[in-house]
């Protein structure tokens, strides 16, 4: 029983089992991800020794290991992320100061560190995330 660095993939159109894609930079549990359709980001998580502030990325069309994208504003695990195809936002989750209402964001196309987006209506961990059209 251990935290893993597994990245695997499926073809959504085709029923079948998942296949190995590559590896994360860290073993992580309670993790979160988002994409712009081309680049996938892996944000935070509970690492082997502590919660993580790392953001890893992959080019989803190309199998291989993750690379460093930048850092969150704080260590976060059990938060959840979403995207509108341009910005990736990570909200909630325990950090060093306890469970937070913080939302971080990055521009998915540009490597770099996360910035403050705003706040959830309450401190929250283990939510579910999703995004869709406003109208």
């Amino acid at each position: 029983m251990a935290k893993t660095d597994i990245i695997e993939y499926i073809a959504i159109d085709t029923l079948g089992n998942a296949t190995d894609f590559g590896n994360l930079n860290n073993n992580a549990n309670y993790c979160s991800s988002c994409s712009n359709g081309t680049r996938g980001l892996f944000m935070g998580g509970s690492g082997d020794a502590s919660d993580l502030d790392e953001i890893d990325y992959i080019t989803i069309a190309s199998l291989g290991n993750a690379s460093d994208f930048g850092d969150l504003t704080d260590d976060r695990d059990d938060a959840k992320a979403l995207s509108d195809g341009t910005k990736g936002c990570l909200g909630g989750g325990p950090s060093g100061a306890g469970t937070t209402d913080t939302i971080d964001y990055v521009n998915i196309a540009s490597l770099g560190n996360a910035s403050d987006f705003g706040n959830l209506t309450a401190n929250t961990q283990s939510p579910s995330t999703c995004s869709g059209n406003i109208s």
Binding site: M1, K3, T4, I6, I7, E8, Y9, I10, A11, I12, D13, L15, G16, N17, A18, D20, F21, N27, A28, N29, Y30, C31, S32, S33, C34, S35, G37, T38, G40, F42, G45, S46, D78, K80, A81, L82, S83, G85, T86, K87, C89, G91, G92, F117, G118, N119, L120, T121, A122, T124, Q125, S126, P127, S128, T129, C130, S131, G132, N133, I134
Partner: protein, 232 residues
């Protein structure tokens, strides 16, 4: 035009729509969704030979329809409204918060899930309809809502395996796929799928490389789903 074939020697002499004047752009690969042209503009993929016509000209989010059946269009599995639903902080909650992702700022109230639950999942989206799978104590719940209308979630159907801290959610805009999560007595390697537009129970898709909880998922064009990390 003169009306006489012999008089129409220019390339555009027989064309009546401004957007289609001249030869189509000829380039290897399909047109990109951010190729901003007028409706009716033609484009040839020199690798496949497929002719595309711009059928929706929205800056950065154009739709190109190919005569061999291909369609290039913006992804449908995400959009400008983001929702965090459920969770835990001393007690479980049924609240649903939303943001407009393009505009920095705080969340506002969207509505409520069908019950309080601690999920740790991503919900597959069709762009129109969003979902929240799993929940407390190995729940088989799938809740859903319509993004454009603030309000409460409703019951979509059930997962084939009840999970929490997952599943990892993925979507191609039509099919929603969900894999992994903590289940009673262990960790699930089950991958389920739903057709997001049609409520109903999930069906078996396949299996992950190992059973894991605390996983996460995201999606890409053209239809690849990624499952990351977790505890096995």
């Amino acid at each position: 035009m003169s009306g006489k074939v012999s008089d129409n020697l220019g390339r555009s002499s027989g064309l009546t729509k401004a957007a289609s004047t001249g030869d189509p752009t000829a380039t290897a690969g399909n047109p990109a969704v951010d190729r901003d042209e007028s409706v009716g503009t033609r484009y040839i993929n020199t690798t496949s030979g497929e002719l595309f016509i711009c059928t929706d000209a929205t800056a950065g989010e154009n739709v190109w329809t190919g005569q061999l059946g291909s369609t290039v269009q913006p992804p449908k599995y995400f959009g400008g409204r983001g929702i965090w639903s459920g969770g835990y902080n001393g007690s479980q909650t049924d609240k649903m918060d939303y943001i407009t992702v393009a505009s920095l700022g705080n969340c506002s109230d969207f509505g409520n899930l069908t019950r309080t639950k601690e999920l740790g999942s991503e919900g597959p989206s069709s762009g129109v309809r969003g979902t929240a799978p799993g929940g407390t104590t190995n729940s088989t719940d799938i809740d859903y809502w319509t993004f454009a209308s603030l309000g409460n979630a409703a019951d979509f159907g059930d997962l084939t395996v009840g999970v929490q801290y997952g599943p990892a959610g993925m979507s191609n805009g039509t099919r929603g796929v969900m894999g992994g999560g903590a289940r009673s007595g262990g960790y699930s390697d089950t991958i389920n799928y739903i057709t997001i537009a049609a409520t109903g129970n999930a069906t078996d898709f396949g299996n992950m490389t190992s059973g894991r909880s605390g996983v996460t998922g995201c999606s890409s064009d053209p239809g690849r789903g990624i499952i990351w990390g977790g505890y096995e």
